[in-house]
């Protein structure tokens, strides 16, 4: 059975290779081939899953050792896979959602002449992401980690002729590289501390290492997670990443890749459990991002950027939960899975809206679309209810558990975290209701553009609506299904460990409080956007609104300090290299030249001058001889 693990990765990898090297003759079948191979991977995943279910809780982990990758003395890196319950969860999510989004893309990218290549990149992404979650050591994980970064780079910049897309892609890769720096330092620290970086030995011997080392490793892993999962302070790339085609935003920048940070922290749970300081930082980062993303999401008029802010915020929830330790890991992953369903569904819905609206993204130019796109409206609406945590839907179960766990952290911290998560829930309800109202309710606000092309909103083709419907089903039922008899908790417990946290208030109180803030958020949004007509051009807004529209000025800070500063630094270094370093060299050469120029003048061609120097020389020699003799 374990030999199938490599097939999971091999299928999409083969697809990527064939589609990217195959050339134009594959244009007509490329998208089918890509989708087929993604589906193959999903089927293999399901086969492995059913096999795993047939085994008892502790014997479910599978290993496959392919070959030795980098063998140098004490440094032994292997190409080897490990499939346990945590990886399995990710495999099903990645291949399942991935396949749906492949199907969706067939319709969405129909008119793009480079559709074959798009599917090649999507397959490459699947392969890299599966490698990330299946690796059995950190170095191989790193390969997947950068692989998804590459796929993300290629897909964000898929419409390369747009300079904004190319810039966004570059930015995403660079910010992620900063995070990758953290991961590579973490691996180096593991190597010097444990002499290895395979999951088993490292996570199994955290008890013997000093807390300082573990804290350092934990913080570096967190840096990596911040980069990939768009957490403060490395969050700036996610908003710009929406330049990519919408299926990409759904798959990579909502459902799977951006949650890799949560996977990393959960996977390294043993390290974080032994390093409370690092855990605290994780929780703080999660809490800050949770609010940051939510606030940004409130102010954006671009539907995709509003959803991107929401993604950031929801991942903040997951990171926060993961930072809580064994009381939170399970719920972090559970929220990750449900989020994968509803956020992918929401993005696909947004894509469907854009598809019908001539690629318009400004929500102020939508309005009243529910009549024109009923299927999109219903699926998007279900996703909306799921994300705000409407009772009975997926988000309700997973988010509620995280809020409970936050309270259960205990002490002042627990109260603060609980309050933050509740506040986040309120803001989530607000901005998602805003998105919903602006898009599907109210008067229609679209107008013909300069060329006189008025959008004709229409429902999308079936290849697009079917994935949306399936994801909506997941958004509705996944949470409830996972929670029956704490199924999900028991499933993951052998890997992540679980410890039931006792909140200072009862679970019912927490749920009640959540409901109250939910209603408040929805009501506020209705007051602002539902009751009265929405202006087509955005009002100036308060200071906070304006700041939030600009990503809370974080980008401006980056621009001024890093980009401008960096430009000045490189420019002055180029100058230094030219004038100083090269100047010394050229100066040496010039001084030799000058010296010989002077000396040349001595050779004036007059015999008597030479005679004088001869006499002078002889005189000096004689004098020296006499002097030596005298001494």
């Amino acid at each position: 059975m374990e030999n199938l693990i490599a097939l999971l990765i091999a299928a999409p990898l083969l697809g990527a290779a064939v589609l990217l090297c195959g050339g134009r003759r594959l244009d007509r079948v490329g998208h089918w081939l890509g989708t087929l191979l993604a589906a193959v991977s999903f089927v293999v995943g399901v086969v492995l899953f059913s096999d795993m279910l047939g085994k008892s809780g502790d014997g479910r982990t599978l290993h496959q050792h392919l070959f030795s990758w980098i063998p140098v003395e004490g440094f032994q890196a292997d190409i080897a896979f490990q499939l346990d319950q945590l990886s399995m969860t990710f495999v099903l999510l990645i291949t399942g959602v991935g396949t749906l989004i492949h199907i969706y893309s067939i319709g969405y990218m129909e008119h793009d002449e480079r559709r074959r290549r798009f599917f090649g990149y999507l397959n490459l992404f699947l392969a890299a992401m599966l490698l990330l979650v299946l690796a059995d050591n950190y170095l191989l994980l790193y390969m997947g980690w950068e692989g998804v970064g590459l796929a993300s780079y290629l897909l964000i910049g898929f419409w390369q002729h747009k300079p904004s897309a190319a810039t966004a892609a570059k930015k995403a890769f660079l910010v992620n590289r900063v995070g990758d720096m953290g991961l590579s330092i973490a691996i180096m620290l593991m190597f010097t501390t444990f002499g290895t970086f395979a999951f088993g030995p490292v996570l199994g011997s955290t008890g013997d290492a000093t807390e300082g080392k573990l804290t350092a490793i934990g913080l570096m892993l967190l840096l990596a997670a911040c980069g990939k999962s768009a957490q403060v302070p490395l969050q700036s790339w996610l908003g710009d990443a929406m330049e990519g085609p919408t299926p990409v935003s759904a798959l990579i920048h909502a459902a799977t890749m951006v949650t890799a940070g949560v996977y990393l922290i959960t996977r390294s749970g043993a390290i974080f459990n032994a390093a409370p300081d690092a855990q605290l930082v994780v929780v703080v980062v999660g809490a800050v991002t949770l609010l940051f993303g939510a606030i940004v999401g409130c102010a954006k008029d671009d539907i995709k950027k509003a959803l991107a802010g929401s993604t950031m915020s929801q991942i903040g929830y997951m990171i926060l939960a993961a930072g809580l330790g064994p009381i939170g890991y399970v719920f972090a992953i559970m929220h990750l899975v449900t989020h994968g369903f509803f956020k992918a569904g929401l993005f696909l819905g947004a894509g469907s809206v854009m598809h019908g609206m001539n690629d318009e993204v400004d929500m102020r130019k939508y309005g009243g679309l529910r009549k024109y796109m009923p299927v999109t409206f219903v699926t998007f609406g279900l996703g909306y209810l799921a994300i705000i945590g409407f009772p009975g839907l997926s988000g309700f179960f997973s988010k509620d558990k995280i809020i409970e766990a936050a309270f259960a952290k205990g002490g002042t911290e627990g109260w603060i975290l609980g309050a933050v998560t509740l506040l986040g829930a309120a803001i989530t309800a607000f901005y998602m209701t805003r998105v919903m109202l602006l898009t599907f309710f109210g008067e229609k606000r679209w107008q013909p553009d300069e060329k006189g092309n008025a959008p004709h909103p229409h429902e999308s083709p079936r290849s697009m609506t079917i994935p949306m419907i399936l994801l909506a089903v997941g958004s509705v039922f996944a949470g409830g299904f996972f929670s029956i008899g704490d199924r999900f908790v028991h499933w993951l417990e052998p890997v992540t460990g679980y410890h039931h946290g006792e909140a200072p208030v009862s679970a019912a109180t927490v749920t009640g409080a959540t409901m109250v803030v939910l209603v408040l958020g929805v009501a506020l949004a209705w007051l602002m956007y539902g009751r009265k007509p929405v202006p087509v051009t955005a009002p100036r807004g308060s200071l906070l609104t304006r700041a939030a529209r600009r990503d809370l000025l974080q980008d401006d800070f980056n621009h001024v300090v890093l980009v401008r500063g960096g430009e000045h630094l490189t420019r002055s270094l180029v100058y230094v290299d030219h004038t100083l370093v090269d100047g010394v060299v050229n100066g040496t050469a010039a001084s030799f030249g000058g010296l010989s120029g002077r000396l040349r003048k001595l050779q004036n061609g007059y015999a008597r001058t030479y005679a004088v120097s001869m006499f002078g020389g002889t005189a000096v020699l004689i004098a020296a001889t006499l002097l030596m003799r005298a001494v």
């Binding site: 040349r600 050779q603 004036n604 061609g605 007059y606 015999a607 008597r608 005679a611 004088v612 006499f615």
Partner: protein, 99 residues
């Protein structure tokens, strides 16, 4: 008579010759001054020969005379040919070798 006086005379003659070589521009005069220096050397050699009581110095003096004679032949020939081509016997005019 003290032979050292001859040495004084020789050095005096040599200095006069050297000064002439350095200062004068007429090639013929320079040439004569070179001869003067050679003869000053000869005088010194002969004096030393006398001082040490052997013939080595005198032999070298003969050598010098022979070489000087050869030099005169070649040198005068060069000077004459230079004078023919440039109508001047000034040594400063022959400075084509400089860079």
């Amino acid at each position: 008579m003290n032979p050292v006086y001859y040495l004084y005379l020789a050095s005096l003659l040599f200095t006069i010759g050297a000064a002439g070589v350095l200062i004068r521009r007429n090639a013929i005069v320079v040439f004569m001054c070179v001869e003067l220096m050679l003869n000053a050397c000869n005088l010194a050699f002969v004096t030393f020969s006398r001082l040490h009581g052997n013939l080595d110095g005198q032999i070298i003096a003969f050598f010098t005379m022979v070489v000087a004679a050869a030099e005169v032949v070649v040198g005068l020939a060069i000077i004459v040919s230079v004078f023919r081509s440039r109508h001047s016997a000034s040594v400063d005019d022959a400075s084509l070798m400089k860079l």
